[in-house]
C-alpha cells in the first residue's frame, strides 16, 4: 500500500465516527427518565434527612403510627393468605377439574378487576351501611383483588407438565400428596408474584378503605395532607409506608427463593387431564358462584338500584360528559407519554443489557411499586419547591402517571422488542438507513403491537386512578374517579352511580386483555 493510499482527507475523517450512534441518545434519554422516575424515592430520603432524627423520631414513634402499622399489617396478613387459597382453588377448578361451565367461571374470576376497588367499597357500604373496620376491609379487599392471584396461578398451572404429576402418582403418591409435593412447589413463583401484587395494592389503596372508615397508612397520609398540606407529618408517614413496601418486596424475594422450576426435557408438553369431581361437583360450584355473587353481583345490584333511583336525570348532567372527556384525554396523553418514556429503557435492556442498564431498570420497577400517595406527595413537594410553574398543572399529573405506570409499559414493550431481532436493524443500516431511522422503521414497527398493549394497559390504569389524581389534578377539573369520589363522599350515591358505570365500561377491555394474556401464556 502506498503512503498516498493511507492518507485520508480531512473531509473523510470527519465522516468517521468513533461510536455507533443509536446507543448514545437512547442511553441518555433512558437515564433521564430513570432519574426522573426515581425522584419520589429521592424525595422520601431527602425529607427524612432534612427533618433530621430529632424531629422525625417523635413523628414516627408515636401511638398513631403503631396503630396504623397494626391495621395495615393485619390487613395484609389476613387478605393475602385468603387470596392465595381462593386463587389457587379457583385456578384448579377452572383448569384441572371437569367443573361445569369452566370457561364462564374463568371469565367471572377475572371480571371483578373491571370494578375499581373504591366502587366495590361504595357498593358494599351503600348496601350495608354499618360495615366498617378490619373485617369489612378484608372482605372487600379480597373481593376486589383475588383476580390478581387467580391470573398468574392459572397461567402457571396451564404451563405445568402433567408428566411430573403422572410420575409422582406412579411413585405411589395420593392425589392430595401430588398436589402438595409436585404442583404447589411449581406454582410458587406465580403465588409469590400474585401475593406481591395484592400486597402492594393493599398498601397503596386509598378509596376502598376511606369509604369504610378503616385507617391505613395511605388514608392517614391523605388526611394529614388535607389538613396540613405539606407538613412533615405526612412526609414521615410516607417514609414509613415506603419502608413497608420495601419490606413486602424483600419478603417476596425471600419467599420466591432462587430455585428455578423450568421444565426439563424437549418437545411440547401434553395437555393435562381433568379430575372428575363426581358428587363433589355441586359443593365445588358453590365457591365460584358465591364469589361471583359477592364480587360482581353486589356491585351490579347496588349500582342498578342507584341508577333506578337517579333515573335519566343523573345521566344528563354536563359534569358527567366533562369528566368522561377529561378522563379520556388524560388517559390517552398519559399512556402515550408513559410508553414513549419507557421506550429507550426497554430497547436498551434488550439490545445492550449490562449492569448499568439493569440497575436503572430495577429502579423503575421499585418506584412503580410505590403507592400513588407517595408519588403524589413527592411531586407536590418538588413542584412547590423547585418547579413552581408546573405546580397544579396537567404536566405534573402526567408525570405522576408516567412514574406510576412505567413498569407496565416496560414489560409489554420489552417482550415485543425482544421479538424483533437485532439483525434486522443492522440489515436496515446496511441498506442505507440511519441508525435512528432503522430503529424507527424496523424495530419499532415490529414492536407496535406491544406498544399498543402497553398504551392500553396504562390508559386503563389511569382511567380509574384516584389517589394521585386527587392530589395533583388542576383545580376545577374532575375525572370520572374524582367526580365519583366527591359525589359519594356527599352520600349522593344516586348521582355517583353513572360515573361508576362508565368506569366499569371503560375497564372491560382490561379484563379481556388480562384474560387473553393468561390464555396465551398457555400456548407457548
Amino acid at each position: 500500500m502506498t503512503a498516498a493510499g493511507l492518507a485520508t482527507t480531512s473531509r473523510e475523517r470527519a465522516r468517521l465516527r468513533s461510536r455507533r450512534s443509536a446507543f448514545a441518545p437512547m442511553a441518555v434519554v433512558a437515564a433521564i427518565v430513570s432519574v426522573g422516575a426515581a425522584l419520589p424515592l429521592a424525595f422520601v430520603v431527602l425529607v427524612a434527612v432534612q427533618t433530621g432524627w430529632a424531629a422525625s423520631a417523635p413523628l414516627v414513634f408515636r401511638p398513631r403510627v403503631a396503630e396504623l402499622l397494626v391495621n395495615t399489617g393485619l390487613l395484609v396478613l389476613l387478605t393475602v393468605p385468603i387470596c392465595i387459597v381462593l386463587g389457587v382453588t379457583l385456578a384448579w377448578l377452572t383448569e384441572r377439574s371437569d367443573l361445569p361451565g369452566r370457561n364462564v367461571w374463568s371469565w367471572l374470576s377475572v371480571a371483578p378487576l373491571a370494578v375499581p376497588a373504591f366502587v366495590h367499597s361504595y357498593a358494599w357500604i351503600s348496601a350495608v351501611p354499618s360495615l366498617n373496620g378490619l373485617a369489612a376491609g378484608v372482605l372487600i379487599s379480597v373481593l376486589a383483588y383475588f383476580p390478581f392471584m387467580y391470573l398468574p396461578v392459572v397461567a402457571a398451572m396451564r404451563r405445568l407438565d402433567p408428566a411430573l404429576e403422572d410420575a409422582a402418582a406412579s411413585l405411589g403418591q395420593k392425589p392430595g400428596q401430588v398436589f402438595r409435593r409436585v404442583m404447589l412447589p411449581q406454582l410458587r413463583l406465580a403465588i409469590c408474584g400474585g401475593a406481591l401484587l395484592v400486597g402492594l395494592h393493599l398498601l397503596g389503596e386509598y378509596g376502598l378503605f376511606a369509604m369504610i372508615r378503616f385507617d391505613t397508612f395511605t388514608t392517614a397520609i391523605i388526611d394529614q395532607f388535607r389538613s396540613t398540606f405539606n407538613g412533615p407529618a405526612a412526609n414521615m408517614l410516607a417514609g414509613v409506608l415506603v419502608v413497608c413496601c420495601f419490606a413486602l418486596l424483600g419478603a417476596e424475594t425471600w419467599f420466591r427463593g432462587s430455585s428455578r422450576y423450568a421444565r426439563i426435557g424437549s418437545g411440547a408438553a401434553r395437555p393435562a387431564g381433568r379430575t372428575c369431581l363426581g358428587r363433589a361437583t355441586v359443593p365445588c360450584l358453590l365457591l365460584p358462584a358465591g364469589l361471583a355473587v359477592l364480587s360482581l353481583g353486589v356491585p351490579l345490584l347496588t349500582l342498578g338500584k342507584w341508577l333506578l333511583a337517579g333515573g335519566v336525570a343523573a345521566w344528563l348532567t354536563p359534569e358527567l360528559g366533562a369528566a368522561l372527556f377529561q378522563t379520556a384525554l388524560w388517559s390517552l396523553a398519559g399512556a402515550a407519554l408513559t410508553t414513549l418514556a419507557a421506550l429507550p429503557m426497554a430497547w436498551l435492556t434488550i439490545r445492550a443489557p449490562g449492569r448499568m442498564v439493569r440497575f436503572f431498570e430495577g429502579l423503575n420497577y421499585v418506584v412503580g411499586a410505590l403507592p400513588g400517595v407517595v408519588i403524589g406527595l413527592a411531586l407536590v413537594t418538588i413542584t412547590v419547591r423547585v418547579a413552581q410553574p408546573i405546580y397544579q398543572t396537567v404536566w405534573t399529573l402526567l408525570i405522576a402517571y408516567a412514574v406510576m405506570f412505567l413498569p407496565r409499559a416496560l414489560i409489554s414493550l420489552r417482550a415485543s422488542i425482544a421479538q424483533a431481532p437485532a439483525g434486522l436493524e443492522e440489515i436496515a443500516q446496511s441498506l442505507g438507513r440511519h441508525p435512528i431511522h432503522a430503529l424507527w422503521s424496523v424495530t419499532l414497527r415490529l414492536a407496535a403491537p406491544g406498544a399498543a398493549a402497553s398504551m392500553a394497559l396504562v390508559a386503563l390504569g389511569i382511567s380509574n386512578e384516584l389517589t394521585a389524581t386527587q392530589m395533583l389534578a388542576p383545580n376545577g377539573t374532575e375525572t370520572l374517579a374524582t367526580a365519583f369520589w366527591s359525589l359519594s363522599g356527599e352520600l349522593d350515591y344516586a348521582s355517583a352511580a353513572p360515573y361508576a358505570v362508565l368506569m366499569i365500561i371503560v375497564s372491560l377491555p382490561l379484563v379481556w386483555l388480562l384474560h387473553a394474556q393468561s390464555q396465551r401464556l398457555a400456548g407457548r
Binding site: 493510499g5 461510536r19 441498506l431
Partner: protein
C-alpha cells in the same frame, strides 16, 4: 492498490481476542471466501467490514475510501455494502416487494420496475411480490434477501453463511446461482462459511481463518493441494498425512519413496496426500503389484459410504507391516482381505511444521 484493503484489524471482546491483526485484500469483481471453524472470528471480520462492529485497531479501505481507521468508523448506512445474513433477515412486517425496495431512496425513478427486475434476477415469480416473508420457503427467503441487498447496487456484497440453513441439494444449486449472479453483476463478494467445499467451489480466492488470524490466503486449488500446515490440510478435506525422511530429493515413508513438491527439503518432514492421489488397484491374481504401484498392501476393513469410503490397509515393507487409514478413497472391487497395489498420482505436498 486493491479494491478492498484490510490491514491489521484487531478486535477484543473483553478478555477474548476475536481478531488479531488480520490482513486481506480483494480485487474488484472478485469472489473471496473466508472459511474457518466456528468461533474463529470470521463473523466478527464480516461485521467489521459491514460496519456493525468497530475494530480496536487496523484499517478497512474500500475503493480508496477509508471505512474504518481504528475505532473511528464510517457508519454502516453510509458504506454501501450489501449483507445477506444466514437466515435472510427479511423484515417480517413488509411484503416481498417492500423488502426488496427497502433500501431504495424515496422517489427512486422506476421503483416498481426495478423491484421486479431484481425479483426476476433471482428467478422468483412475479406473483411473489405481494407475499409475506413467512409464506416463503427457506430458499425463496434467501433469494429475496439477495435481491434486496443487490437492489441498491452495493460496491461490496457480504454473504454470511447464506446457504447453511438450506438442505443439501438446494444448497449446491443456490450457491452456483448466486455465484453466477454476482459475477455477472460484477459485484465484489465476500462469503463467510465453515463449509470447505462451499468455499472452494464458490470463490476465486480462499482465506482460511483460525483463532482470529488468516494463516493462508490463496486460490482454491492452492489452498487444497498446497495447504501451509497440517491443520489447514485437514480442515480443507480428507487427507493422508505421513512422517517421512528426505533422501536424495524424495521422501521416504510408509508408502515408499515419494516425489514431493519441494525437493529441497531436508531431514524429517511431514507430507500430505489427498485421497484422489491414492489409487487402490486390485492384484487380480498377480503375485507382484502392478508396475506403477509403489507398495503392496492388504485390505483390512472397508467403511463403505458410496462414492468414497474409508479403507484400512496393512502395508508391508520388508518384514514390517503397518496399518494406514485411507479416508475418502474409492473402494470399487475391493473386499476385506484382498491384496491390492497402492499407486500415487502426482507429488506429495510438504507441510510446514
Amino acid at each position: 492498490m486493491s479494491f478492498l484493503d484490510i490491514s491489521g484489524i484487531s478486535k477484543q471482546f473483553g478478555a477474548v481476542t476475536a481478531l488479531d491483526g488480520v490482513d486481506l485484500t480483494a480485487e474488484r469483481g472478485s469472489r473471496t471466501a473466508i472459511v474457518g471453524p466456528s468461533g474463529s472470528g470470521k463473523t466478527t471480520l464480516l461485521r467489521i467490514i459491514a460496519g456493525f462492529e468497530v475494530p480496536d485497531a487496523g484499517r478497512v479501505l474500500l475503493d480508496g475510501e477509508m471505512l474504518a481507521d481504528g475505532p473511528r468508523s464510517l457508519p454502516t448506512h453510509q458504506r454501501g455494502i450489501g449483507v445477506v445474513a444466514q437466515d435472510g433477515a427479511l423484515f417480517p412486517h413488509l411484503s416481498v416487494a417492500d423488502n426488496i425496495g427497502f433500501g431504495l431512496p424515496r422517489g427512486f425513478p422506476g421503483r416498481d420496475s426495478h423491484i421486479l427486475a431484481m425479483l426476476e434476477m433471482v428467478e422468483l415469480e412475479r406473483s411473489m411480490l405481494g407475499r409475506r416473508p413467512d409464506e416463503l420457503s427457506g430458499g425463496q427467503q434467501q433469494r429475496v434477501a439477495l435481491a434486496r441487498a443487490m437492489a441498491t447496487r452495493p460496491k461490496l456484497m457480504l454473504l454470511d453463511e447464506p446457504f447453511s440453513a438450506l438442505d443439501t441439494g438446494l444448497r449446491a444449486s443456490m450457491r452456483k446461482a448466486v455465484s453466477e449472479l454476482l459475477q455477472a453483476a460484477g459485484i465484489t463478494t465476500i462469503l463467510i462459511t465453515h463449509d470447505q467445499a462451499e468455499a472452494l467451489s464458490f470463490a476465486d480466492q480462499v482465506a482460511v481463518m483460525r483463532a482470529g488470524s488468516l494463516p493462508q490466503v490463496g486460490t482454491p486449488r492452492d489452498i487444497y493441494f498446497h495447504p501451509r500446515d497440517r491443520m489447514i490440510a485437514e480442515f480443507m478435506g480428507d487427507c493422508l498425512i505421513l512422517e517421512a525422511e528426505m533422501e536424495e530429493g524424495r521422501a521416504r515413508c510408509g508408502l515408499g519413496h515419494l516425489e514431493i513438491d519441494n525437493g529441497r527439503a531436508q531431514g524429517t518432514v511431514q507430507i500430505m496426500l489427498r485421497p484422489e492421489q491414492i489409487l487402490l488397484v486390485p492384484m487380480e491374481g498377480r503375485s507382484a503389484p502392478p508396475p506403477n504401484a509403489v507398495r503392496a498392501a492388504r485390505v483390512l476393513e472397508i467403511d463403505f459410504a458410496g462414492r468414497t469410503s474409508t479403507v484400512r490397509v496393512e502395508v508391508r515393507q520388508g518384514d514390517v507391516a503397518s496399518a494406514l487409514l485411507l479416508r475418502g478413497v474409492g473402494s470399487r472391487g475391493l473386499e476385506p482381505g484382498a491384496e491390492v497395489g497402492i499407486s500415487i498420482v502426482g507429488p506429495a505436498h510438504l507441510l510446514a511444521r
